[in-house]
Amino acid sequence: MSQPVENQSIQPKRWVYLLPLGIFVGLVILFFIGLELNPRLIPSPLIGKPAPSFSLPRLHHPGEIFQETDLQGEISLLNIWATWCPSCKQEHPVLMQIAKANKAPIYGLYYKDDPEYGVEWLKNNGNPYRANAVDKDGSVGIEWGTYGTPETFIIDEKGIIQYKHVGPISWQDWKDKLLPKIQSLREKSDV
């Protein structure tokens, strides 16, 4: 028991010294695959699925209901926004331009905010939206998987979500990502 441990007996074999490197190479390969798999690269689990159902009061006509079936019939954009969200204000001029270009109607989901502020803001800065649904407590936003405003969805004429953009849309985003997507959807439906 208390014999000195001989040098040879505790000397690891040569391959043992390569073991850490071997394990590490395995990890790097795993991470490379992992980066490809990155769940956040898939913009939304909702893509390819019908828009979640909701039924909310309209911003300008609180007595009327806005629901997911109102999104059907033509390719449209749904923009989730609020007046407390600085990036939404920054996005606003781009939305105005998109509305002017008249490629697809923009609907709004007015998220966790007071309707009065929204009406006031749109009065002063212009209204790019065809209609807005007021999601005062944010419960519909959760159904749509919102984790930050603004977010914009492209919904096809059957009411299926086809694309999701997180963060403010720049004019570049519109030209390079959203507009081509809308055009390809339109071609598909024409065929």
Binding site: S2, Q3, P4, R14, P20, L30, F31, R40, P86
Partner: protein, 660 residues
């Protein structure tokens, strides 16, 4: 204009880092002392440049320059000053800049201290640190520039994540980074030693204070993070085995093994390759932690906004740094196999067993953290590995670790007589059994084996510390003189070991004896938990500087006597609309009373869901962490690390340079 200056100075810092890495490194390989001498001024200059750049970003935060994209995303005009300063590291770009700042600060300190090392060692270490700095500066500048502008500037910023608007959270990341980055120094020493083919006692003595320093910072960072999670998340938990927590815990485990293995290498010239490997692993795991957090490969509550190009960049960097180091290790370590010998019953063996156990513990944490990723890569299935795996695998590994902490310090170096050891261990063990059993009878709650066992291990370690002290003092007549003659490092070890068992007591007793209730309460309702009765009075609105709070009032009675009033809060932050829970906690050494508000149930009757916890001895978990930090600080300030190297040793010693 000012942010552009910051950006430009950061580019200059990258140029200086290139000089710092390449010229001394070439000097080392070509034995040119004049090239090696570039190391120190370059390291200091790089630090100054990064500091200026960092200060500029801080300034832009303070003056609310929302044209800087990063500031627009993480600050707001309502944000209090203190959180505008800590907000600099509140998201990805700024925390990388903080990382670079801390790295350059550590490097500058090493470079200034390098007078104590042979000039080639100092140059090698500075050069390796320079290469690491290049990697991180390039990462910052090319993928995560914090000075990026954005026009037109938004009117106001998106605000700092309210979770981070907390004093402990303000200092937790810098402490953690100081630990992570601190392990770069033992790493740099290890690489230099491998290049030179020389690891000796002097090498171990140079590395020890840096390794302990990094370990102290990491311990403090993890302790703060755990404490923060406890009072801020509102669930009474203090460790969640979240991937990001694991990322900080893994280098801690190997770092702990490293500081112990360094002791063997210094005292006994043994296990040199093992020590070098641990030094490489500790820093590699710090880098791995950065990769896991920054790349978004694992989803976690901690992860900031992620970006695949960042992930690829860090992965390449990680592959180059760790790959080269481990290749160097595979080649060189084989050539410098160990010479020291020791027996199965010896302090070396107990330290070696302990570091092997810590390494295995690290591997189990690594496996648990990466398993979801492995499974998804192979089968595409998504799962998560939670606390059940970690507690059932990790705790059995920690029991022998604490056991070895108890007996290891009492063993002699090289060879211990087994029967004498048993004799030394007998008395403290008997006392520990008695103490643990007695205390269990006094404690409120039923006798429980886990609690008894935790107390037993703890008392055993503490009693052995006293036995050790007695052994140390047996040859002196004068007690105070004898105490003063013991080196400070020894007191550090004792303090840290006592800290460890305090944490063991905290975990053991709080996990066994905690009581909790998750209930709906209306004004006037009361609930009893242990000896305490909680009476719910009401919840009122109260505005804060940048939030609106619901403040609850709960009276706590013991034996019908009112002990205190607790005010848990629920805050709604104005800008981000996040709801934060602020638990109300009354702590003392024996127990915590913890109350947090859930959701309002009925606005008319004023009833709320309320979580009530009674957690005995939980404070000991973090007090233990504090003791470990103090122990490490005592060890690092031991005077033998301050002894200057005689002048003639400073000259370039050609035998240091490997013949190849």
């Amino acid at each position: 204009m000012i942010p552009e200056i910051g950006h430009f100075i950061l580019i200059l810092a990258l140029c200086v880092a290139l000089v710092q890495a390449i010229i001394p490194g070439m000097g080392l390989l070509n034995r040119r002392v004049d090239w090696m001498n570039v190391a120190q001024p370059a390291a200091v200059l790089q630090f100054i440049l990064v500091l200026i750049s960092y200060s500029i970003l801080t300034y832009s935060f303070i003056v609310h320059d929302f044209s800087v994209l990063y500031i627009a995303n993480t600050s707001n005009s309502e944000l209090p000053l203190i959180y505008r300063i800590s907000g600099v590291w509140g998201a990805h770009e700024g925390s990388l800049l903080l990382w670079v700042l801390i790295l350059s600060a550590w490097t500058a300190v090493v470079a200034i201290y390098s007078k104590r090392y042979p000039v080639d060692v100092g140059a090698g270490v500075t050069s390796v640190l320079g290469f690491i700095s290049i990697g991180f500066l390039m990462f910052t500048l090319f993928t995560s520039n914090p000075f990026e502008r954005h026009f037109p500037a938004p009117v106001d910023g998106a605000d700092l994540n309210p979770l981070l608007q907390d004093p402990a959270m303000a200092i937790h990341p810098p402490m953690l980074y100081m630990g992570y980055v601190g392990f770069a120094i033992p790493f740099a020493f290890a690489i230099t030693a491998l290049v030179q083919g020389k690891v000796d006692t002097a090498w171990a003595r140079w590395v020890r204070p840096w390794a302990i320093g990094a370990w102290v910072c990491l311990t403090a960072g993890i302790t703060l993070g755990s404490w923060w999670a406890y009072y801020e998340l509102g669930w009474g938990g203090w460790w969640f085995w979240d991937p990001v927590e694991n990322a900080s815990f893994m280098p801690w485990l190997t770092g702990t093994a490293l500081i112990h293995s360094l002791a063997i290498t210094e005292k006994r010239h043994a296990l040199r390759n093992w020590t070098v490997l641990l030094a490489i692993l500790s820093f590699s795991l710090s880098l791995l932690g950065t990769f896991l957090v920054r790349s978004g490969v694992l989803t976690s509550v901690h992860a900031f906004a992620t970006d695949p190009t960042r992930g690829i960049f860090i992965l390449i960097f990680l592959g180059v740094v760790i790959g080269i180091s481990l290749m160097l290790f595979a080649i060189r370590a084989w050539q410098m196999r160990t010479t020291g010998s020791f027996t199965l019953v010896s302090r070396e063996m107990s330290l070696l067993s302990n570091s092997v156990l810590l390494l295995i513990a690290m591997l189990t944490v690594l496996l648990g953290t990466l398993y979801p990723l492995i499974l998804e890569a192979i089968t595409g299935e998504k799962i998560s590995v939670g606390p059940p795996y970690f507690s059932s695998v990790f705790i059995p590994l920690m029991v022998p670790v604490v056991f070895l902490v108890a007996i290891g310090p009492l063993m002699s170096w090289r060879k211990e007589n087994l029967s004498q050891l048993l004799l030394k261990l007998r008395q403290p063990a008997i006392i520990a059994v008695l103490f643990a059993s007695l205390l269990l009878l006094v404690l409120p709650g039923k006798a429980n084996f886990t609690a008894w066992f935790a107390l037993l291990l703890a008392f055993w370690v503490i009693n052995n510390c006293f036995a050790l002290l007695k052994q140390r003092l047996r040859n002196t007549n004068n007690l105070s003189q004898g105490l003063r003659r013991i080196p400070r490092g020894w007191y550090g070890m004792i303090t840290a070991h006592i800290g460890l068992v305090m944490t063991v007591i905290g975990i053991g007793l709080s996990s066994v004896y905690s009581q909790e209730q998750d209930v709906y309460m209306a004004p006037g309702d009361d609930r009893t938990l242990g000896a305490y009765r909680f009476e719910f009075i009401d919840v009122k609105k109260k505005p804060g500087p940048n939030y609106m709070a619901d403040v609850g009032t709960i009276h706590v009675y013991k034996n019908d006597e009112r002990l205190m009033t607790l005010h848990p809060e629920k805050r709604l932050y104005n800008v981000r609309r996040n709801v934060m829970t602020e638990a109300a906690i009354h702590s003392n050494l024996l127990r915590d009373l913890y109350v947090s508000l859930g959701e309002p149930r009925n606005l008319e009757s004023g009833s709320w869901s309320v979580r009530l916890y009674y957690k005995p001895f939980i404070l000991w978990i973090w007090l233990g962490g504090l003791f470990m930090v103090i122990g490490g600080l005592l060890a690092v300030t031991d005077r033998r690390y301050r002894i200057e190297v005689p002048d003639e040793k400073l000259k370039l010693d050609s035998t240091h340079v490997a013949a190849s």
